[in-house]
Symmetry: C2
Subunit: 295 residues, 2 copies
């Protein structure tokens, strides 16, 4: 199976789960459900939930045990896109090739739809808490995801990004911003799959190293694509980072060095999961796919 | 002890817990921590967390077991105030007698500080998950709180409020909006205390009826205060509901009937917790305090 077919197959499984886990239309106002759905579908790459499922499989776990965590993390990723696009933040009109949420539904509903996806993610993480073994694993996942999405992770990265706008800064701050904005949730998605599979400390540490590696590579490649890509390829406004004179990997290191930095991170990620053998092949394929995007 | 002294004592305990549970200054950007703190302190009435602790005590539980849930619910309440005040929503400049978050820190940081408090609440709910008995209780609390704060609760109420703005509607919709916006989280705060105390089904059902009753009374009284109060008493802009021609209890039923409706709800709440005896006296006092506010 090629990685493209693999991603499409997993994407359908994840979409079905997302539909199942969305709050039922009976119990909630139709408008907010429509706004939640609009940003969740049609799919982006579904990178994060695919990683959760692949990590769960790499440790021999049952993929159904990881599905709620996978769906919840995609909801959190989606909420972050809605809020980031708001006029007060990145002020982006375009997302995944369509009008961003506030352009489509107005600012008030976009704020609330984002809040709703974030809150609902934790509801999804807390449902079906039997058997007891799974309750403990889920509690670990909730703690991990809340940290990765919170002020020490995604929100913190976004705040640093705001604070440094128009200011010069070096590689350490760039790394910190990227790790917060993107890396930590990607890494949490990987680890969550491993936790739901019942992975031991050594296994979870290997998954953490894999997750951190591909998270870094993903963001470097995103910076390169933002510089080189077109709006049609990306489905979002491009070159905005340059316009706002934000520091990016290519701006600090040039494209060639940035690309080789991403490739080194990917190599490290693949080495970290080598002990899992054949079952981890999809994780390695996903890692390679991440750098391939930039060619 | 008078109810005022009781509330002040519990308020100090809750403030200390909130300070302890805020993310440490080392690990996160200072600006977002300042914005989170600004809205959490100085205290409002701390009604919700006080209810969690009182409900836990009413069932003979240890108050320290309920403190994380109490603090988390206050964080969620606080995030909802920050987001509700945003220009795209209620556009309020004043909150608890001071500039609202976006007036103080700008809209971008206010959105992110709200997101941060919501996310951090779930982190607080997931920490210290031993012993195992408490893990199961906490998981129940996470599910309950996520539902009460989500699209079937607080966010749903806010969306309905937006949708019905400037339109006429009757008591059923008014009740639904109020229950969503205020009632469900107040009731969840009560039930969370009972869950952490290890309450059985019958006890939790009694607490739910108590919580629903005081939630309704609280909102009716709030409507009356909004109509009659002054900005100085309330520390927020008043008469806004009337200006926006929103339906309120006094608008639909008049002040006298609204007040007697609130008093009936309080009586029902107090009856529900009668089986708990003396230990539930503070819950009854809090219920009476809620209607007294309006005299």
């Amino acid at each position: 199976m090629t990685i493209e077919v693999y991603l499409a197959t997993e994407g359908r499984r994840i979409d079905a789960a997302l539909r199942r886990y969305l709050p039922s239309a009976r119990s909630i106002p139709a408008t907010v459900r429509r706004a939640m759905s609009y940003s969740l579908f049609p799919a982006g790459k579904r990178l994060r939930p695919t990683l959760s499922l692949a990590a769960c499989r790499a440790l021999g776990g049952r993929v159904t045990d990881a599905l709620p965590a996978a769906a919840a993390i995609e909801m959190i990723h989606t909420y972050s896109l809605i809020h980031d696009d708001l006029p007060a933040l990145d002020d982006d009109d375009l997302r995944r090739g369509r009008a961003s949420s506030h352009r489509m539904f107005g600012e008030a509903l976009a704020i609330l739809a984002g809040d709703a996806l974030l809150t609902h993610a934790f509801e999804v993480l807390s449902i079906h808490p039997r058997p007891l073994r799974l309750v403990q694993r889920k509690m670990k996942v909730i703690a991990l995801v809340a940290q990765a999405a919170g002020v020490a992770g995604m929100i913190g990265g976004q705040v640093l990004d705001l604070e440094t706008e128009g200011r010069r800064f070096g590689p350490a701050m760039l790394r910190r911003i990227h790790r917060g904005k993107t890396g930590m949730l990607i890494s949490a998605a990987v680890q969550a799959g491993g936790i739901m599979a019942g992975g031991n400390r050594r296994q979870l540490e290997a998954l953490r190293r894999y997750g951190d590696g591909i998270g870094l590579a993903f963001q470097i490649i995103d910076d390169i694509l933002d510089q080189e890509g077109t709006a049609a390829q990306l489905g979002k406004s491009v070159g905005k980072d340059r316009q706002a004179s934000k520091a990016t990997y290519p701006a600090l290191f040039g494209v060639a060095r940035s690309r080789s930095r991403a490739e080194r991170a990917i190599d490290g990620a693949i080495r970290a999961i080598a002990p899992f053998g054949r079952r981890a092949a999809p994780l390695a394929d996903i890692a390679r796919f991440i750098v391939r995007r930039a060619r």
